[in-house]
Symmetry: C2
Subunit: 668 residues, 2 copies
């Protein structure tokens, strides 16, 4: 009895009452599972996300969500073997499974780490600096991001049943937005298994994730202006979803990541037999064979200077001859996801033969069970033929295309009308600038490969959690990942205007002009738990004498003429006479504000945004004001970070230096 | 003879051969112009932007574009009287015209200033920091923004014929993207006049701006994946444009800014007769009457605690009684754009009377020529009635709605399904945080008004160039302005991966790991013109003795125990013994790298991102390496800014401090 996959909605596992659609093992064609969502309460699923998942997530901070993802990622990593075993049915070799499974869990862990380091322990994220609008500073503005109060509905592709859903889930989760996952039917069994382990872990709040194996029925009709649809798949399906009434009339956000005709360019500076030539060919073969070429980031168009086309084809042929296809241990390339998919690929190859010839492989499917297909390399005879830049065989297929000069290859690459990624193999930095800037408007990611970075390169086809993934035009126009950038796509940016006191309360970040609390004790005597945003110490004055400046110059060796030579200093257009060293000013300021005895403040670990605004002249007197600006506990340590707004003023009350002092302060 | 408005496409003024559609003066109904784009070469217009405007703009840097906008803004400002005179025909009072005309030119100048200060003198903008991917640092990544290689087609609303097109033009122009302007027919005559003056000024490169007065014909069919449509207007038209084949199939970007049911909330802490109560009523009346209420940001829903509904209505009635309607000098409210528009507004008011009663004004149009309509205030009897949160009378109309508590008002505001702006009048910071964070996911902008900021507040209805403008859901889901944020909407974000040398060449920003040029002379002896990114000085070593630390403590007064008390310092969990002051380390580093004699380096004006990475112990020796990272000439001065990557290392080669030193360097 083949198992009918379950869905997980509204806090319960659901089994459809009908037989479902059969799904087959890619390696032998045996039925492996059945899929159906018949009878599922789709509306209830959206309501559950809105009324249970959303509020549960809104009650947690970025750091709490990060901690949950960290636990989840580690738990899943420890269960890897089970996932690898099932993954083989998708046609994947174990190396392919690593991309999907380890790649997915790594993305979860990457988001956990980034969120802890780059987001506050709050639900609000400040975007950019404070904008002073009025002259006196009583009316200011700050852009903030807050979580959208909706659900993110994922509609995924078959090729990455694990990574595909986790790379969408992790950023939404950090943002505080619940997710409904809809895997592609062909490989839903693997998504279901991983999802089951997630639910069993109990790590994620109820309602924050749901799973629908099978069609989404009327689900999308229930979406409104706070919800979003995140799609990965074909341009055709993307176009259909883009015109869904919820997207057109309700303001549901839609983002798509579609297959594209990614280019890999061998630059004009590379010669046959060079290290870069070899890197180009190796990368091409890797991209043709990993996941049997079923990656939306795989190389489809291999651009090569006209004079090197033959050499590249020969070297690629040679290297492809080492590829062995099959399910047995040691085979270097697995199966396509289904024989139907293989037929689509072969049809696409046949269409390309209008302007190309097959130079490795053939356009007929091999005999035997399983959706195997040896790699196919084409050689193009007309680099401007439309089909070349339009038809994508989504399998182990690439076309070598000759070109003449940087200008032409930029133009040819753009004929793909927008791609997820391009790679450029060159050792020439100036040429790299020219070609990269020419390609950039059409690409979400560009990899420049050469002997300098090859050893550590993660490769043409590999999206990374810290880099954006997506592309304009044909590639779908969407953007995912990119570290915190991917989190912000699930949030609303809002400009908040008000008085400094109001904005300080809203963002829990002290803003110039807001009230300062100058009551005893010295704020350096307060623990992290006792400190409050706005706690202030005013210290000074201290006079800066001519002797101080001369002595500092001699002691540090900083004998710059503006500090030592009255005549030369008078000629300086900015100073017009001897001035104190900037470093002297901040050193004396520290002498004023520091509280010497051991206490909660453990160290000053840095300074940000130091600006010297007014020269300090001989006999000026300095006063310094330090105000607690942000207070950020570290989950993994018994101290946290306190950022102090710092203003050093002269005897006229004029600021001479402003900066942020960064300290580590014990929690208790 | 009434004049037929001209279009400006492909570098020429175009007059349609037919009679065109008549447009009428809002104040007296007289015909003022005719509009037609019949026979215009729409395809040629798109091609012209792609083949002439785009390349011309690509050849300029952000700073050059900023300089052009600055000249343009000043030129237009000097011609204001002519625009004000014509603006009266739109129904605007002179105060209304200031919002449109001065607001538009101010936006142009704001973008000129921001671009010079916040963007490099280049065509590439770096987004975020460098990401080290490999362990050794040989493979890194940087996100960059480059201009989309397309055209931005604006489709504008009638209410801001000047600001409306300039607020879209300025960010696109700075990005390097050409624009085609299509004004609303009713007020196109004012747009045409300003546009004519722009062309006459000769300031903008040919092809960078075009104007189409009349329908856009098949223009949108010509757009592709690098083009965009920027729409301001009704939700219905937005929905039509959103399903245009170019948007659905070609990847043309579409952004909309639609009218919304903006809320103004009197918070529960405010009492009748208080300063905040008065501010609330004043703002409500201003928003009802400015531009005769024809602003997509105007207040439609006035939320008031149940107990204050009567008081607010009375106070608003009182204040509205001072409003005089008409075209004559001294009148405080002008006309709607047309009698047709007035009829639409009155129909909307009639629909609202299902659940509301009119408490000021009436739902019948006054007699006489001109599209005048005195303000109408409604009182709601059922705060959950659907029409209240759905029907928008786009004129001098608002509804007072009672509510009970912060939780209810957040929920009621959200029923507008997404708005451009909300205002909240409160003096309570904690309440402000609660309500602002509740409103934020549904809003593009939130203004918190109280006695502290009222004097400088720019008001509920005023978008500012430095703050984002737009809103989710019903408000269109788009985002414009927001300073550089608005520029980036016209650019493509791309993750570029490569070696440090490659990325340094691509972004013209030195990246750790890239080659350093250590040849003579000392880089501080080079002018801005002579300096090259990567120029480096290595200086040192200098030993830090116990006497240095003790002396620095005594001299500066910074006697923190970690520098002075061996026993206490040993107990510090981070130091484990006496360490040098961070400020001593950077002061000594300056002593090592400074070149004392007068030369091109005028001043050190700041330090960024200073981090103390490793404690400096007694008798450690320091070496400092300074490398020119970015070089930014200032257009308005004979010097520019040089940012120096700075690393202070100890005798083991371990970095003890890293930071950027910011200097001003003479151009020659």
């Amino acid at each position: 009895m083949v198992r009918l996959l379950q869905s997980y909605v509204s806090g319960r596992w659901y089994t459809a009452p009908d037989a479902g659609t059969p799904v087959f093992d890619a390696t032998d064609g045996a039925e492996i599972a059945r899929v159906s969502s018949t009878g599922l309460d789709f509306a209830g699923s959206v309501d559950h996300a809105h009324t249970v998942g959303g509020p549960a997530m809104a009650a947690t901070t970025f750091h709490e969500r990060a901690a949950a993802l960290k636990t989840l990622g580690r738990t899943l990593m420890s269960q890897k073997d089970e996932f690898y075993a099932l993954s083989r049915a998708t046609g994947a070799t174990d190396r392919d499974s690593a991309i999907d499974i380890d790649g997915g869990f790594g993305t979860v862990l990457s988001y956990a780490g980034r969120a802890r380091r780059e987001l506050p322990d709050d639900t609000v994220y400040a975007d950019g600096g404070v904008e002073q609008i009025g002259k006196s500073g009583s009316f200011v503005a700050q852009h903030i991001y807050t979580a959208r109060r909706g659900v993110a509905v994922q509609i995924n592709a078959f090729n990455f049943p694990v990574w595909g859903f986790l790379e969408k889930l992790a950023p939404a989760f950090i943002a505080g937005v619940p997710t409904i996952v809809k895997p592609a039917t062909q490989t839903a069994y693997l998504t279901e298994l991983v999802f089951r382990r997630i639910i069993e872990s109990g790590v994620l709040p109820e309602g924050s994730v749901q799973l629908i194996c099978g069609g989404v029925g009327p689900l999308l009709d229930r979406l409104g202006g706070q919800d979003s649809i995140l799609f990965t798949g074909s341009a055709t399906t993307a176009a259909t979803l883009r015109t869904h009434p919820s997207v057109v009339h309700n303001g549901t956000r839609f983002t798509a990541e579609a297959d594209s005709l990614n280019a890999s360019i061998l630059a004009p500076d590379v010669t046959a037999g060079s290290a870069e030539f070899d890197l180009y060919v190796r990368q091409l073969v890797t991209e043709m064979t990993a996941k049997a070429g079923q990656k939306c980031t795989a190389i489809r168009r291999a651009f090569v200077p006209n004079g090197l086309v033959d050499a590249v084809i020969e070297a690629t042929r040679e290297r492809l001859s080492g590829i062995t296809v099959g399910a047995a241990e040691g085979r270097t390339m697995g199966a396509l996801v289904s024989t139907g998919q293989r037929e689509e690929v072969l049809n696409a190859v046949r269409s390309l033969t209008k302007s190309c010839e097959i130079v490795v492989g053939s356009d007929t499917a091999p005999d035997g069970p399983g959706a195997y297909l040896p790699p196919i390399l084409l050689r193009c005879n007309d680099n401007k033929a439309d089909e070349l830049h339009d038809i994508e065989p989504f399998g182990p297929v690439a076309t070598v295309i000759g070109y003449d000069g940087a200008h032409e290859v930029i133009e040819l690459a753009a004929r793909g009308k927008g791609s997820l990624v391009a790679s450029l193999v060159t050792a020439d930095p100036a040429l790299a600038r020219e070609i990269v800037l020419g390609l950039a408007p059409y690409h979400g990611r560009i990899l420049v490969l050469n002997a300098e970075d090859a050893k550590e390169s993660t490769g043409h086809g590999t999206p990374l959690p810290i880099l954006v993934h997506g592309g304009p035009g044909r590639a779908g126009g969407g953007e995912e990942l990119g570290g915190i950038r991917g989190v912000l796509h699930h949030m609303q940016r809002t400009a908040v205007q008000g008085s400094p006191n109001i904005l300080t309360a809203v963002g829990r970040q002290w803003i110039t002009g807001a009230d300062r609390r100058t009551a005893e004790p010295h704020p350096f005597r307060k623990t992290l738990a006792e400190l409050i945003v706005g706690d202030t110490i005013v210290a000074g004055p201290r006079q800066v004498t001519a002797e101080d400046i001369a002595h500092f110059a001699e002691f540090t060796g900083d004998t710059f003429y503006a500090h030592t030579d009255p005549v030369a200093a008078a000629a300086n257009p900015l100073f017009g006479g001897i001035v104190a060293h900037g470093y002297l000013v901040v050193s004396l300021a520290a002498g004023l504000f520091v509280d010497p005895a051991p206490g909660p403040v453990l160290a000053n670990f840095g300074v940000d945004n130091l600006r010297f605004l007014t020269p300090v002249k001989v006999d000026d007197t300095l006063t310094v004001t330090l105000t607690a600006k942000t207070i950020t506990p570290r989950a993994s340590a018994d101290y946290g970070e306190v950022r102090w707004d710092t203003v050093v003023a002269n005897q006229h009350g004029k600021p001479v230096a402003t900066y942020d002092v960064l300290t580590l302060v014990a929690k208790s």
